[in-house]
């Protein structure tokens, strides 16, 4: 059984145009994912590369049951993300680009809140929270401080702790290091590697950091305008596109540089 099996997955959104037909504004169909198909084995780390608006976050949201697909299917350890969403929710957790916490509440309170939804009572979190915070390199003595007083890097460590506290078997990482300073970025990447090896977790890492993808993942996929155009180990990708670097491979696969794509992505208006 695959950890993740995605088959011809489709998602589109409708955006209102400025132009009108009669009294009504015209609606424009914006495809976010178009027929995406791939599998991930248990214990594998797969990175999906793509620019802003390429559909990475849409893919993560579909797999974490926050979106309903318009077509195709996705299963997590054999459970359909639509029909068996509760079973999927028990297996999955995620870390996204925004740490997202109740800012006035402390890290301990935020973690306790998240843990309750996964059936962890106060007797379990009392010990588990300091332990997991220590594990991610968070100064345990600061766990009673409000989140608003913590740096972005610290907040992202708490986000990692939140995801791991519930012992997920599939970890969805949606640009977890974007916006972090170089040191925090390396710390988070080290921790992801540590989790992958010691927790027996399967990881889907969505990023637009080419180096991060190359360093962390077994296989790297290229998602371009909602289409998965390649998914192979980094070395195979470079060979396939006759490129020296992953960046060159990305360029050869998509025919565009990252900079060129940004404007087009903004125009597409899909999830970043």
């Amino acid at each position: 059984m695959f950890a993740v099996e995605v088959n011809n997955l489709r998602k589109e959104f409708f955006r209102r145009d400025a132009t009108r037909t009669g009294w009504r504004k015209r609606r424009r169909r914006v495809p976010a994912l178009e027929g995406v198909t791939f599998t991930i084995d248990r214990g594998e780390c797969v990175a999906i590369l793509g620019q802003n608006g390429s559909g990475k976050s849409t893919l993560v949201r579909l797999l974490s049951t926050l979106l309903l697909p318009d077509g195709g299917s996705a299963t997590i350890f054999g459970h359909d993300v639509v029909k068996e969403s509760r079973a999927v929710q028990r297996l999955v957790n995620r870390v996204s680009v925004e740490a997202s916490f109740f800012k006035k509440m402390s890290s301990e309170e935020n973690l306790a809140y998240a843990a309750r939804f996964y059936g962890m009572p106060p007797s379990a979190t009392k010990q588990a929270i300091p332990e997991i915070l220590e594990r991610v390199g968070f100064p345990v003595g600061r766990r009673h401080e409000g989140m608003e007083h913590l740096s972005r890097g610290m907040q992202q460590k708490v986000a990692l702790a939140r995801a791991l506290l519930t012992s997920p078997v599939l970890l969805l990482l949606d640009e977890p290091t974007t916006g972090l300073d170089p040191r925090s970025k390396l710390e988070v990447q080290d921790f992801i590697r540590d989790v992958w090896t010691s927790y027996d977790a399967t990881i889907l890492l969505c990023t637009h950091d080419l180096r991060e993808a190359e360093v962390l993942a077994d296989r790297v996929g290229i998602l371009d305008r909602g289409r998965l155009i390649a998914l192979d180990p980094p070395e195979v990708l470079k060979e396939q596109f006759e490129a020296e670097t992953l960046e060159d491979a990305f360029f050869a696969a998509t025919g565009r540089t990252f900079e060129e794509e940004e404007d087009e992505d903004a125009e597409r208006g899909v999830f970043a």
């Binding site: 926050l66 309903l68 929710q89 997202s100 006035k104 809140y113 309750r116 962890m120 999830f271």
Partner: protein, 278 residues
Amino acid sequence: MNREAAGALRHEFIGLYGMVERNWYLIKRYAWWEIAFFFWTAANTLTIVFIAKGVVAEGGTVNIDRLTTILLIGAVIWSYLGIVFELLIETVAWERWEGTIEYTFMAPLTRAVHLLGTGIFAIGYGIVRASIVFAAIAAFFGLHMPNANFFAALVLIAVASISFVGIGMMTAVLPLISPEKGTQFGYVAQGLMLVVSGVYYPVSVLPEFMQWIAKISPATYALRGERAAILDGASVGGVWGDLWPMLIIGVVSVPLGIWVFRRGELHAKKHGKLKRSG
């Protein structure tokens, strides 16, 4: 009950506790704001209750203590309903603003438990705050309520709360559908409910069509029952005529509220609205 079902039930209770616990944390962290909002509620209540003195000052002949108490009950029920609706609407609105909405909605917790957890906290917190406002304003005006049956009043508000929570769940869906204006529309629902329920006047003064709508509003029975219990000392048996309609409305409105919220959630999942804003 088999072990699996017991485990699932335990999981849901822990989730329910989590919602109550989180709201408690937030109240603690925003304690100064709570005090400020308390004074705002007290000031609002005073502006209404002073109307009784105003009527006398303008030459009207009324039982000033009785009218003051009638207005006070209306203002306190208004503020209580406001607290319940506000906390339920914030189930979505606050989480959307903080960005935690995605983590909460992808967690393995039934929506019923999620909403009921907030509802239970809202009832407890709302009753405490409304009682303090009631006692403070009553003391300010030196109101004497020698006949008041506060036990019956408490039973009435507890039963009314079931239907208030059910209707609040329906309004909580609004920020899911309209992230920008949904919260404000919840307050519109609160106002509409109270205007037909005789918040500061008997329902009999309303136009006939509004009196018909009043029959399906739980606030109508809550206000009438509270006034009977506090002004005339009616017992629980004496206000049964107001209790049973609220029980029926509660039994219908809570499952309906959960159903409406679920429909809204599916709409949000279809159109990509389950995400942070702000």
